[in-house]
């Protein structure tokens, strides 16, 4: 198993190299770059005073070099104006728009992004599982139809609309401030019990909003998967031993029905980051999403590149985690090699 994980980690290196190249290539596809855009804007308005500084920046960040060199410098495989100084060396790049290092722009948003995503995943699993199981075991009952209806509503309602409605309700019923991640007076304060509570209270609405469609989709899938398993012969075998229905359900069909969900962990992460952009904008949440959106719009290439690469790394790790978990939980995958030899 350890061997397998090591091998997978090694495979991740060329994968990441390929992804980084693709990201850089796509970000650079549009004409020009952040600075040349700025320069032409200044020219059109007639202010040419600070053009010199911008030209200097262009040189400083090697934006005047050919594409492959620029990529090499960004990654840290090619000597830039300051020698080897790229992602590999720990320099995450410079954000032109914020006029700050990328690390400082992204840094504060990352913990919140991760916390929000984790909370959303947990929410999806916690809500979808009991409902999915109920729907499958009580197929075509009133409860099943009700959950199905709610689920379809959840799938069909645009997230931002739900966000606005819930935000309004949260404010008028519980007096939560509209938007933001915490009460304003906690901003900039050191962590304290009150601050944590405030953050948690503010996370509830976004988690529900971002998680609704995922929950609805998962309920439908779990119900279908479980319905496939529930009538299989091995379940009858277990029943004929005299097991309690609830225990039986969890031990046998649910365990088998879980596989697709474990395999899905890796895919969840990027969709949660990119899917929550609009909600984050509407709810004014300082997550990575809106930053990425802004960076892409203004061609702030190092910032956008870094965020995209970060999401890719998360995805790769998620894939690894789900593969390892699958191997651990499903003997058919773990012992597949031996099984094939027989």
């Amino acid at each position: 198993m350890l061997n397998y994980i090591l091998r997978r980690l090694l495979v991740m290196i060329p994968t990441l190299a390929a992804i980084s190249f693709l990201i850089f290539f796509i970000i650079e596809l549009p004409e020009g770059d952040y600075i040349s855009n700025q320069i032409s804007m200044l020219r059109s308005t007639g202010e040419s005073a600070s053009i010199g500084r911008l030209e200097f920046l262009r040189k400083e960040f090697a934006l005047d070099r050919p594409f492959v060199e620029r990529y090499g410098i960004w990654v840290g495989l090619w000597p830039g104006p300051n020698g080897f100084d790229g992602l590999i060396q720990g320099n995450w790049g410079w954000s032109f728009e914020y006029d700050q290092p990328v690390g400082e722009v992204v840094g504060p948003t990352l913990p919140l992004t991760v916390a929000l995503n984790l909370a959303t995943v947990l929410f999806i699993y916690c809500v979808a599982f009991p409902i999915g199981i109920y729907s499958a075991t009580h197929q075509y009952s009133v409860g099943d139809y009700t959950f199905t209806l709610i689920g379809y509503l959840g799938l069909a309602t645009p997230n931002f609309l739900l966000a606005l409605v819930l935000m309004y309700l949260a404010n008028s019923w519980f007096g939560l401030t509209v938007g933001g991640i915490m009460e304003e007076h906690y901003i900039g304060e050191p962590m304290s019990g009150g601050k944590v509570l405030s953050i948690v209270a503010h996370l509830i609405v976004p988690v529900i909003v971002i998680g609704t469609s995922g929950t609805a989709a998962m309920i439908r899938r779990l119900r279908a998967n479980l319905l496939d398993e529930i009538y299989k012969q091995y379940v009858t075998t277990a029943r004929s031993k005299g097991m309690r229905e609830s225990k039986l359900l969890v031990k046998y069909p649910l365990r088998v029905a879980l596989n697709p969900f474990i395999a899905d962990i890796g895919n969840l992460i990027p969709s949660l980051v990119s899917g929550s952009v609009i909600v984050s904008v509407v709810l004014n949440l300082p997550t990575v999403g809106p930053v990425l959106l802004g960076a892409l719009q203004s061609q702030d290439q190092f910032l956008a590149g870094f965020i995209l690469l970060f999401v890719s790394i998360l995805t790769l790790i998620g894939m690894l985690v789900s593969d390892v978990l699958l191997g651990y939980l499903d003997p058919r995958i773990r012992l597949g090699k031996e099984g094939a030899r027989q």
């Binding site: 277990a238 004929s240 005299g242 309690r244 046998y252 365990r255 030899r341």
Partner: protein, 633 residues
């Protein structure tokens, strides 16, 4: 003393089209320490009755009337009415798995793929005996030993997919036995298994029954199993009991016409050469049409009995590949120097257990894959041709001549095509005629297999298994082929339907002058339909000859073991459980000399009688023994 009394039991299914009585007023009793067999075709309700006794009826059904009285020996013979107990309630759960246990039909799907054998077997002990995991493990090992599981210590950590079908069935039996139930229900426990393994499992069930003082309720459609296992028989048809009594009474003097009909529909090894099976619902093929005339049998190059297809030293190895497609060291020999001749106008049966290479051999004749070694020649009008050397165009023409009927009629028909489209497709592919003449041809084919043209617009799901197999036959006949591969065409069908299909195949062969290669694991079926038989084991042909000679005078130890393991549906030829050879009979390295084969031994066929060949590599060096004649070797 009766352990189980079923009185006036009625079970109802409620589906979308209202209620449907599947079991009507069924009464029978199971005396203690006896074996009672519930016999019937599929759909007769026999399984539903057994599920009702277990309290595991499907959700859409319920018991509408009657009693299921079970005498609880652990509570001083107090009688419990299972029909009144809520199926998922604690009282029923306490009985289920503890006092009444069940063995299921399909060992391949009856075990959870994600849990170890040990976990699944010990579960019932933990539930009913309240033992700790250590003790449960010991009990499990005891049970695995009882069912002669090899290496019980290791087996408890094995997963079902690592085991063969026979071993899984043993695990299932161990699972049912662990609480030493007083009543064991066995639902077609051997239907999915090879004959030799079937005989062993039956022997095992008998042994365990005696050892644990169990009462057995056996559900089966196989009269061979009934005569060998049962003391009493209950015949069920369409949800009602037709006839019941002791096995002797029923087999010697069957009263009810249904039972008589059912008995006549079963092929057996002791049938007369010209005896014909009588299907319960016979069909009449109609072959009066003009372009379905018999093949030109009389011409000089193609008279009956000459070689049509010849396999010479055919070898096929399969190499295991890992996920990246690189070759691994693992390799199996599916065909090992197979030499066979299929003669024009005959039916050659190929018999063997699963994994013997019988299907591979027949598929090789269709050029379904490239051979590792050897040559397959097909006799055309210009003499024999190697089918490996066919060009694309020649192969396309060859496809018209050679067709196949598949084993599973359920998955071999496209569920999204109507019957008309299914039958038309081969004609369209081979551009035979315009749509008008194709329509006429389809009507002929439908007639030929005894179906009605009214069905042409239906989809496969609305046909029964037997009807689907007839569609499969019609499709294979669409191109007017010269020879047909029948790959276990009746193994998925009921005995009564089996007789119908076998008779249909027989009639078609005679009337259309076809040549068959009939692959089957059922010796009685092969005996009924084939002129000659080839017995295969582990990719080798071990014996080949005229059917009667093979059946009456088997030479090879494997053929003998195979014949000995066939349960005959008559009381005079009961299985001799004590002389079963076990798994050794299918291991070439354990055969006695001169039949023994090491891994490198090349098969060598010796002609023992006229046309009767046996694989005996040891005789290559001492040919004089052949003079001794068959039976002494």
């Amino acid at each position: 003393m009766n352990l189980l009394d079923v009185k006036g039991l009625s079970v109802e299914f409620h589906g979308d089209e209202g209620h449907h009585q599947v079991v009507r007023d069924v009464s029978f009793s199971v005396p203690e320490n006896k074996c009672v067999a519930l016999v019937g075709e599929s759909g007769s309700g026999k399984t539903v009755i057994s599920r009702a006794v277990m309290g595991i009826l499907p959700a859409k059904s319920r018991i509408t009337a009657g009693q299921i009285l079970f005498r609880d020996n652990r509570k001083n013979g107090e009688q419990i009415d299972i029909a009144k107990l809520p199926p998922a309630g604690p009282a029923m759960r306490a009985i289920r798995g503890d006092q009444i246990a069940m063995i299921f039909q399909e060992p391949m799907v009856s075990l959870s793929p994600l849990h170890t054998i040990g976990d699944q077997i010990s579960e019932a002990a933990k539930l009913h005996r309240f033992v700790g995991s250590k003790e449960a493990q010991e009990l499990t090992k005891d049970m695995l030993r009882l069912v002669h599981f090899p290496e019980p210590e290791r087996a408890i950590r094995a997963y079902p997919f690592e085991l063969s079908g026979g071993l899984r069935q043993r695990a299932l039996i161990a699972m049912a036995m662990i609480c030493r139930p007083t009543l064991l229900i066995a639902d077609e426990p051997t239907t999915a298994l090879d004959v030799t393994i079937q005989a062993e499992i039956l022997k095992l069930i008998k042994e365990v029954q005696a050892e644990l003082n169990m009462t057995l309720l056996m559900i089966t459609h196989d009269f061979g199993v009934v005569t060998n296992m049962a003391d009493e028989v209950v015949v069920v048809y369409n949800g009602e009991v037709m006839e019941k009594g002791s096995v002797e009474d029923l087999f010697l003097t069957p009263q009810h016409p249904y039972l008589k009909a059912l008995l006549n529909a079963v092929p057996s090894l002791s049938m007369e050469p010209d005896e014909r099976l009588v299907p319960i619902r016979p069909i009449k093929p109609r072959t009066h049409h003009s372009d379905l005339q018999p093949q030109p049998v009389g011409k000089t190059h193609a008279f009956r009995g000459t070689a049509l297809i010849e396999l010479e030293g055919v070898c096929k190895n399969f190499t295991f590949k890992n996920l990246r497609g690189k070759k691994r060291r693992g390799m199996t020999t599916a065909l090992d120097n197979v030499s066979l001749t299929v003669r024009r106008g005959e039916c050659l049966g190929i018999v063997g257990e699963s994994g013997s290479g019988k299907t591979t051999a027949s598929l090789a004749m269709l050029r379904a894959f490239p051979l590792t070694r050897g040559k397959i020649s097909y006799t055309t009008e210009d003499g024999p041709r190697d089918i490996q050397g066919f060009s694309e165009k020649e192969l396309f023409q060859y496809r018209k001549k050679a067709q196949i009927i598949f084993q599973d009629p359920f998955s071999s028909l496209n569920p999204r095509r109507t019957l008309n489209e299914i039958l038309q497709e081969p004609l369209v592919i081979h551009r035979m005629g315009d749509s008008l003449s194709q329509g006429a041809r389809i009507r002929e084919l439908i007639d030929l297999v005894g179906l009605s043209p009214r069905y042409l617009r239906r989809y496969p799901h609305s046909f029964s298994g037997g009807q689907r197999q007839r569609i499969g036959i019609a499709r294979a006949l669409a191109l007017n082929p010269e020879f047909l591969i029948c790959d276990e065409p009746t193994s998925a069908l009921d005995v009564s339907v089996q007789a119908q299909i076998l008779n249909l195949l027989k009639d078609l062969k005679d009337e259309l002058g076809l040549t068959y290669v009939f692959v089957s694991h059922n010796l009685a079926v092969v005996d009924y339909i084939s002129d000659r038989v080839a017995v295969m084991c582990k990719g080798k042909v071990v014996e080949v000859g005229p059917t009667r000679q093979i059946i009456d005078n088997p030479i090879h130890p494997y053929t003998r073991a195979l014949l000995k393991a066939v349960p005959e549906p008559s009381l005079d030829h009961k299985l001799d459980f004590s002389s079963l050879a076990g798994t050794a009979s299918s291991d070439p390295t354990q055969w006695p000399s001169p039949y023994r084969m090491r891994y490198t031994t090349v098969p060598y066929l010796v002609e023992i009688e006229t046309d009767h060949w046996v694989c005996a590599p040891g005789m290559e060096s001492m040919r004089d023994i052949v003079g001794l004649g068959g039976s002494h070797i």
